[in-house]
């Protein structure tokens, strides 16, 4: 197959932001008339890559070839002119306008020498388009009156109306009901039958397998594989997404486990859109134990952790901390009780980007001893504390007065981890504690976590790095689609078994860890 046959070819695309390489020499080839899935976890760089293709970002390096012709898109307008359209996750429709008006918006056909919008022509075009692709939309309905699935189709029509041959869909299924997802896939098939090319972004490997012809997998901004959907398996994809760098040997001494520090009982949590993200999950973390949660990102881990740490109110179920219910306790109460939390998103939650490290060092303890007394903050004490963290966790540059935003991602992470682990906590909830940090610092953070474990503290670890979560955990739970698939012994379980569990399948004879409560293992 020659180059010109591909509808889109991205060659060695690199997109660098200060402190972050979002795309690192990524290749992607989407053949004409096919559905191409761009698969990866949150933060893998999928949307960035597509924003590059759509002209929202300019690549730091690399080539964009559309229809065999090299292109440089200065703006989405250029991309649209070249036949590339993008449907964002959040629709850009005017609720009070009709379907036709929305589709024609900005490209209305004119009459009388361009003075008047030709509504009739616009409506005709829309009807013609939707009939050609078998779309079931009423051109005269107001957008606010139609379902989300139809709104999405209106977005697709809008792109087609502007002459798109290549359609990029960003997480198109995230907002749809299961039935609407099926309808969408049917629409995509119709489009490709008629020669259109689809690239859709997803982190759900089932969808990629089901709807795509080819799949490109990204991990940490890097291209880790391109496979044909019918030549791959779910666990192969899961492994590609999550990765299994076996660079780390983790020495884990035996520790006597003690009382239960954290108890989670029948917890059900919904996300922002009121969709159930965590379904009836139960587990316990004991003193001197690292309890790991593995799974592909976006399977409810974030919501579960937020419910545990007090950032999200659960629907049902309870959370107990050191034997007492904290289900309804505020975030501050939980911090004060000794719950440290390394958040998933350090730049949004973990650090105040405009604050310097002195100020960031007391985030969460701004009311507590020794940093504050009588409502007054002791900035001298705070400075000493920040400097200690910078020193101990090798944060560079070693300058407590530096604003958080000026640090690289890895150093930001080290500072957050340092602040949380130095809290003298009873329990550490750590999500992706080593994300973005160098190997040396990874080991250091692992050792620190194991020190806490040896000291009789509990650790709840969520990581998408399989080797990390297996190496550190005493017991390992696998999460899929909001449920705990199983709690397994990380030393006994095989990679294949983990892969299947993460993909939502139940392999035979998984080596289960001795569960505290039997019902928490697989219903």
């Amino acid at each position: 197959m020659t180059d010109t046959d591909a509808a889109v070819r991205l060659e060695s695309i690199t997109k660098r932001f200060p402190g972050v390489v979002a795309n690192d020499e990524v290749d992607l080839t989407a053949e004409r008339g096919t559905v191409h899935a761009l698969l990866g976890e949150n933060g893998a760089g999928k949307t960035t890559l597509m924003n590059v293709l759509y002209g929202l970002y300019q690549p730091t390096a690399g080539r964009i070839v559309v229809d065999g012709e090299e292109r440089a898109f200065g703006s989405p307008r250029d991309a649209i002119d070249a036949g590339v359209g993008m449907i964002h996750q959040h629709f850009m429709l005017v609720d009070t306008m009709t379907v036709t008006e929305n589709i024609a918006l900005g490209n209305e056909p004119r009459k009388f020498g361009g003075l008047v919008v030709d509504h009739e022509a616009a409506r005709r075009d829309v009807v013609e388009l939707s009939e050609r692709y078998g779309f079931d939309v009423d051109p005269d309905q107001r957008v606010e009156d139609v379902s989300v699935g139809v709104q999405q189709r209106v977005e697709i029509l809008k792109a087609l109306y502007r002459g798109a041959d290549v359609l990029i869909l960003d997480e198109p299924t995230a907002v749809l009901t299961p039935q609407e997802v099926e309808d969408l896939f049917a629409v995509l098939e119709e489009l490709t039958d008629q020669g259109k090319t689809i690239i859709f972004i997803t982190h759900k490997l089932g969808e990629a397998m089901h709807a795509a012809d080819d799949i490109t997998v990204l991990r940490d901004g890097k291209h880790v594989g391109s496979v044909a959907a019918d030549e791959t398996t779910r666990d192969e994809l899961a492994e590609l997404m999550v990765g299994r760098e076996v660079v780390l040997e983790i020495e884990k001494p035996d520790v006597e486990t003690g009382d239960e520090v954290l108890g989670v009982d029948s917890l059900t949590v919904t996300d922002e859109r009121d969709v159930e993200a965590v379904s009836d999950v139960s587990f316990a973390v004991r003193e001197g134990e690292v309890f790991g949660i593995a799974g592909v990102d976006g399977n409810g881990q974030a919501e579960l952790i937020e419910a545990v740490t007090g950032l999200r109110t659960p629907e049902t179920g309870s959370v107990t901390f050191e034997g007492e219910s904290v289900t309804w306790d505020s975030r501050r109460d939980r911090i004060d009780a000794g719950m440290a939390y390394v958040p998933e998103d350090r730049q949004e939650r973990g650090l105040v980007m405009e604050f310097d490290l002195v100020e960031n060092g007391i985030l969460g303890s701004q009311h507590a001893d020794p940093f504050a007394s009588g409502g007054r903050i002791d900035w001298g004490e705070s400075r000493a504390h920040a400097e200690d963290i910078v020193d101990e966790y090798d944060v560079r540059p070693p300058d407590a007065d530096a604003e958080a935003v000026s640090l690289s991602g890895g150093n930001q992470q080290k500072f957050v981890v340092g602040r949380e682990l130095e809290r003298d906590p009873r329990l550490v909830v750590a999500t992706h504690p080593t994300r973005g940090v160098d190997v040396g610092s990874q080991e250091f953070i692992h050792d620190k976590l194991l020190d806490l474990r040896a000291d009789g503290r509990g650790v709840l670890l969520v990581s998408s790095k399989l080797d990390e979560v297996r190496g550190l955990s005493d017991r390992l739970a696998v999460m899929h689609d909001g449920e705990l698939m199983a709690v397994v012994d990380p030393d006994e379980v095989s990679e294949e078994q983990l892969g299947l569990l993460m993909a939502g399948e139940h392999p035979e004879e998984v080596p289960r860890a001795d569960a505290v409560a039997p019902e928490e293992v697989e219903p």
Binding site: T47, E348, Q366, R376
Partner: protein
């Protein structure tokens, strides 16, 4: 580089400007506004009719003679002299400050500064917490009303105590203003926190409510209206319950004590924001609400308390206006609350900066009076010149604020994009 990219990079430069750069930007904006103002004065001066020109501009003849043929130097007359206007506007506001520091122009300047310092810092506190309090005017009116009406009944009790009466009643008056304004500010705060009502809308609407209620209370003698007066106002408070004029003349309506209270308040708010746990919570909520929540800050409570504090500060401003300038409550209180928004923006929402911004406002306000008295320039034109200066000086800071608030909408802002390598969207 496309036009939009260029605009964006200019915008970015403004948003990320350092302190010194911001000062330079403000100064050059001031100079630019004066230059443009001068052109407007000249143009207006050409259009106006006057017996003798106040200002003559000598142009090299060649410029004009090539069209008309005439003398080597042509002089063009204008009715208003821009140099004199700006001289009066800025220096007139200070009066003979060196020889006679208590002159009445300077007193007017400082009186304006004092009231604006309160309304400015009120708005600044709310902005720092990420809440857009457009209702400082209403809170100021309620504060003024509370103080005036309550003291009308309470002050006579302390009538015979002389200076001691002042020491008791004056702080009480300020406290009442704080209470009234604070409650009136907490109301939209609670509406935002617990009912998700946009504070911009509610505070604007509550401004009207405050004015209307105040009018109702003082427009009939059966309520609090002074029966002797034709105007809608309360009776005058006893002299001892008002701010003492100290070194200044009593009829200039200015008190150094009030200015002192204002300065202490600014320093106090600065201390609160930078040195206390509450200030830390407030600032964190304002800059990065997600991080504040992570750090254990109760978002709802912070909104209510910052709005209450903001309202209380505006309320004290109202109390000061009553106890220093008016001596009673009257309807039609000038728009100190709205000016406070500009003062706060001008100061970059920094409580200490509010002092300087309020002084600039005071200068312009008092200087305008001098210009109106001392020249033929019509008051409308003076208003234009004032507005021009404020607009120019405040705009860069306004863009900075807007930029911070909306920078998530700018996909090109790199450090922001680094936060969201995932397109800024949480995937489910």
């Amino acid at each position: 580089m496309s036009a939009s990219e260029k605009a964006r990079s200019v915008f970015e430069r403004i948003v990320t400007a350092s302190g010194v750069e911001r000062l330079l930007i403000s100064l050059s904006a001031l100079v630019l506004s004066i230059l443009i103002g001068a052109v407007i004065i000249l143009a207006a001066g050409r259009m106006a009719d006057c017996g003798t020109a106040a200002y003559r501009l000598a142009l090299p003849g060649s410029l004009i003679t090539q069209f008309t043929g005439g003398s080597a130097v042509v002089s063009m007359g204008f009715c208003y002299d821009p140099i004199a206007v700006y001289d009066q506007l800025f220096l007139g506001a200070l009066g003979d400050v060196v020889g006679n520091p208590t002159n009445s122009q300077f007193a007017t300047t400082l009186a304006e500064t004092t009231v604006l310092a309160f309304s400015g810092v009120a708005v600044a506190v709310a902005f720092r917490a990420g809440v857009f309090n457009i209702g400082a005017q209403g809170q100021l009116v309620v504060g003024a009303l509370t103080t005036a009406v309550t003291l009308l009944f309470v002050a006579p009790v302390f009538g015979g105590l002389g200076v001691l009466g002042t020491i008791v009643v004056l702080p009480l008056g300020l406290l009442l203003g704080a209470l009234g304004g604070g409650l009136y500010g907490a109301l939209p705060g609670a509406l935002k926190a617990y009912a998700d009502a946009n504070e911009v809308i509610t505070t604007i609407m509550l401004n009207f409510v405050a004015t209307a209620v105040a009018l109702y209370l003082v427009n009939d003698a059966s309520r609090f209206k002074d029966p002797e007066s034709f105007a809608n106002q309360t009776e005058v408070l006893p002299e001892f319950s008002r701010f003492p004029s100290l070194l200044f003349r009593a009829r200039d309506d200015f008190s150094l004590v009030a200015l002192g209270v204002a300065v202490l308040t600014l320093v106090g708010v600065w201390y609160l924001l930078t040195r206390t746990s509450f200030g830390y919570d407030l600032r964190t909520s304002g800059i990065q609400p997600e991080a504040a929540e992570y750090g254990g800050v109760d978002a709802d409570r912070t909104i209510v308390s910052s709005m209450a504090l903001s309202g209380a500060l505006a309320g004290v401003g109202g109390a000061v206006y009553v106890l220093m300038v008016l001596g009673n409550f009257q309807t039609g209180i000038p728009s100190y609350g709205f000016d406070g928004i500009t003062v706060s923006i001008l100061a970059g929402n920094n409580p200490l900066g509010v002092g300087f911004a309020a002084f600039l406002f005071g200068v312009l306000k008092s200087g305008s009076i001098v210009v109106q008295v001392g020249s033929d320039v019509p008051p409308e034109l003076v208003g234009v010149l004032r507005g021009l200066i404020i607009l120019f000086v405040a705009m860069p800071e306004f863009f900075r604020m807007a930029g911070r608030r909306f920078d998530s909408l700018l996909p090109e802002r790199d450090d922001q994009a680094a936060v969201a390598t995932d397109g800024g969207v949480r995937n489910e």
